[in-house]
C-alpha cells in the first residue's frame, strides 16, 4: 500500500463530499435529534414510569438509549458507505475501473476508501455526541470518550461490508445484507434494551454480533460504567472484524477488478 496513492483516493472522496456536505451535516444532526426526541423522551417517559429502571441498572431511558444509538448509527454509516458507493464504483458508474488505470492499485483504493469512511464516522459521531450532550444524556468529556468505540464499531462494519460488496453481483445481495443482517442487529443487539431481556438462547447470539460489543463499549465510556468484558476485549473484537474485513476486501476487489 502506497501512502500517497491512498491519500489521493481520500482527497477525491473529500472533493465529492464538498458538494453535498451541508445536506449531509443537517441530516446527521437531525437523525439523532428525532430518534432521541421520539424514543428517548417520548417513549422513555413510559419506560421510566414502568418497570424499566431495574433492567436499565438505574438509568433513565434517554441516557441508556443515546450512546447505544450512537454505536448503532456508526454501524449504519459504516455499512452504508461500504455498500452502495462501492457497488457504484465497481458497476454502476464504474469509476473504480478508471482509478485502477492510474498508478493507484486495488490496495490503495481500498485503504483510501476505508480511511475516508473513518473520517466520515468521526464527523458523524462528533455531531451525534453533541446532540447527546444537548439532550443532557451525558457530559462533554464522556461524550468525547464515546467517539473512539463508536468509530471502531463503524469500521467493524465498513470493512467486511466492502468485502461483501466486492463479491456481490448487484444490489440484491446488498439489500439482503441489510434486511437479514444490519436491521436485526440494529434492533436486537442492546441498542434499545439490554440483551438480558432477550430469550436465553438469543443472548449468546447477540453477544457474537459486533454491534453488541460496540454498544457495550460506547455506552460504558459515555456513561462511566463498567462494560461486560474487559474494554480491550470488546475493542479487540471490533478491530478483528475490521482487519479481517480489510484483508478480505483487498482480495475480493482484486479478484473482481483485475481479471
Amino acid at each position: 500500500m502506497a501512502a500517497t496513492e491512498t491519500l489521493r483516493v481520500v482527497e477525491t472522496h473529500a472533493r465529492a463530499y464538498k458538494r453535498i456536505w451541508r445536506g449531509s451535516v443537517i441530516s446527521t444532526f437531525l437523525n439523532p435529534v428525532l430518534y432521541l426526541a421520539a424514543m428517548g423522551v417520548g417513549l422513555g417517559v413510559l419506560v421510566d414510569e414502568g418497570s424499566g429502571r431495574d433492567a436499565l441498572v438505574g438509568l433513565d431511558y434517554l441516557t441508556f438509549l443515546a450512546p447505544g444509538l450512537l454505536a448503532a448509527s456508526a454501524m449504519s454509516t459504516g455499512a452504508m458507505d461500504g455498500s452502495w458507493p462501492v457497488m457504484a464504483g465497481i458497476r454502476w458508474q464504474r469509476h473504480y475501473e478508471a482509478i485502477l488505470s492510474t498508478p493507484v492499485a486495488v490496495r490503495d483504493l481500498v485503504a483510501g476508501h476505508l480511511l475516508w469512511v473513518a473520517v466520515r464516522l468521526l464527523m458523524m459521531s462528533t455531531i451525534f455526541s453533541f446532540v447527546m450532550v444537548l439532550f443532557g444524556a451525558t457530559g462533554v468529556i464522556e461524550a468525547g470518550r464515546a467517539l473512539l468505540p463508536a468509530i471502531v464499531t463503524g469500521m467493524a462494519f465498513a470493512a467486511p461490508v466492502t468485502a461483501f460488496t466486492a463479491r456481490s453481483e448487484d444490489h440484491v445481495g446488498l439489500t439482503n445484507l441489510f434486511r437479514f443482517g444490519i436491521v436485526p442487529m440494529f434492533l436486537f443487539s442492546g441498542t434499545f434494551f439490554p440483551i438480558s431481556q432477550l430469550p436465553g438462547w438469543m443472548q449468546p447470539v447477540a453477544q457474537i454480533t459486533p454491534l453488541w460489543h460496540g454498544v457495550e463499549m460506547t455506552r460504558a465510556w459515555a456513561l462511566g460504567l463498567t462494560p461486560t468484558f474487559e474494554p480491550g476485549l470488546h475493542i479487540g473484537y471490533l478491530v478483528l472484524w475490521t482487519v479481517a474485513g480489510w484483508i478480505a476486501a483487498n482480495r475480493l476487489l482484486e479478484k473482481r477488478m483485475i481479471k
Binding site: 500517497t4 489521493r8 465529492a16 458508474q93 469509476h95 475501473e97 478508471a98 488505470s101 492510474t102 481479471k259
Partner: protein
C-alpha cells in the same frame, strides 16, 4: 529479468519499441480469450486491433494496460513487466475504455483534476493542462456542468481528454467511437488524427473497418483470440482482396435460384445472405459480363475493397454480425 537483458531492452534499436508481445495468452477458466499472439508497437505509430466482438481485442488491451494479468507468454510495455511494474507502466499510459467511466456527479473540469491527482500531479501544474485539454475536447464552455448533463460524444471527448492528463507516452483506445452518431465520430477522429500528428502513440481496438483505415498506420486482424493477418490497411487490402468489388442484390427470393451461376465472372465470389460479392480488378468488365449472362439484379454497385473484405476473406464472416 536479468540486468543484461534489461539493458538490452531499454537501449539501442529497441528504444522505440513501446510494446512487445510474444505468445501472449489470456484464459478465463477454460475459455481462451487471447491465444498466443505476437506483436510489436513502436513509438509514434497508430496501431490497430481490428476484429469482431469477442475476438480478444479488449483482453489484449487490458493486459497491455497492466490491469489484467497475463496467463502465458511474454509481455513488455516500455520494456517493463506489467506483473512487476504495473504502477510504473500505468503512470505513462492514457486509457480510454470501451464504456465511459467518468465521475458523473462532479463537473467536467474536476473530473480532469481528480484524475490528474491520481497521477500525483500538482494542482498548479494541472490547471493550465486542464485549460488546454478542455479546448482540445471543445468542452471549455461546458467546464462547470456535471458530466451527467453531457451528450455521448462530449463524454467520449472528455474521456479522451482525461486520458491525456498525464501526457502519456502511449494512448490506449478501446472502441473509441462505438455508440456515437456519424457527426460525433468524425469530430472524434479529427481529434485522434491531431494527436497522431503530434507524435502520440495510439493503440486502437475497433470493429469498424473505416475507423481502422482512417486512423491506423499498422494493424492486426484478430479473430477468436488469434491474429490472422498483420500489416498496413493498404497492404492488407492488396494482399487479401482485389482492387474492386461488385455488390449485387437481387429481389427477395431470387438470389437462391441464381447464386451458383457466378463462377468465372470474378477472381473470387462471396455469397452473403443478402447479396453477392464479386472480387475483381476490372469492375466494368465484370458488370458487363453480369448483364451478358442475362441476370436481372435489383441493384449493382462497384466499390473499392475495404478491410471488411479482408476480414471476410480471412474468416468467412462479416465484422459486424
Amino acid at each position: 529479468m536479468a540486468p543484461a537483458e534489461s539493458a538490452q531492452l531499454s537501449g539501442g534499436a529497441d528504444d522505440e519499441l513501446l510494446v512487445r508481445a510474444r505468445g501472449l495468452t489470456k484464459k478465463f477458466g477454460d475459455f481462451t480469450a487471447v491465444d498466443a499472439v505476437d506483436f510489436d508497437i513502436r513509438a509514434g505509430e497508430a496501431f490497430g486491433f481490428l476484429g469482431p466482438n469477442g475476438a480478444g481485442k479488449t483482453s489484449t488491451m487490458r493486459m497491455v494496460g497492466a490491469v489484467s494479468p497475463i496467463t502465458a507468454g511474454d509481455l513488455r510495455v516500455f520494456g517493463l513487466d506489467p506483473a512487476a511494474d504495473g504502477a510504473k507502466i500505468r503512470a505513462r499510459l492514457g486509457v480510454v475504455p470501451q464504456q465511459d467511466n467518468l465521475d458523473e456527479e462532479i463537473p467536467v473540469d474536476e473530473n480532469l483534476l481528480i484524475y490528474g491527482r491520481y497521477f500525483g500531479m500538482a494542482r498548479a501544474e494541472l490547471w493550465p493542462r486542464i485549460e488546454e485539454l478542455l479546448a482540445f475536447a471543445e468542452l471549455t464552455d461546458r467546464r462547470h456542468d456535471k458530466v451527467s448533463a453531457l451528450s455521448g460524444g462530449m463524454k467520449r471527448r472528455l474521456t479522451i481528454a482525461r486520458a491525456l492528463i498525464n501526457e502519456p507516452d502511449l494512448l490506449l483506445l478501446d472502441e473509441p467511437t462505438t455508440g456515437l452518431d456519424p457527426q460525433a465520430r468524425h469530430l472524434l477522429w479529427d481529434r485522434l488524427y491531431r494527436l497522431k500528428r503530434q507524435g502520440v502513440t495510439l493503440i486502437i481496438t475497433t470493429h469498424f473497418m473505416d475507423e481502422a483505415e482512417q486512423l491506423c498506420d499498422r494493424l492486426v486482424v484478430m479473430d477468436k483470440g488469434k491474429i490472422v493477418a498483420a500489416g498496413s490497411p493498404r497492404s492488407l487490402i492488396e494482399r487479401y482482396s482485389t482492387k474492386e468489388v461488385i455488390e449485387i442484390r437481387f429481389p427477395l427470393g431470387i438470389q437462391e435460384t441464381v447464386e451458383d451461376q457466378f463462377d468465372g465472372l470474378a477472381k473470387r465470389v462471396e455469397i452473403l445472405p443478402d447479396r453477392i460479392l464479386l472480387y475483381t480488378d476490372n469492375g466494368d468488365e465484370a458488370i458487363r459480363q453480369v448483364h451478358e449472362r442475362g441476370f436481372q439484379p435489383e441493384s449493382m454497385m462497384d466499390r473499392r475493397s475495404t478491410l471488411e473484405d479482408v476480414f471476410l476473406r480471412l474468416t468467412g464472416r462479416s465484422l459486424i454480425d
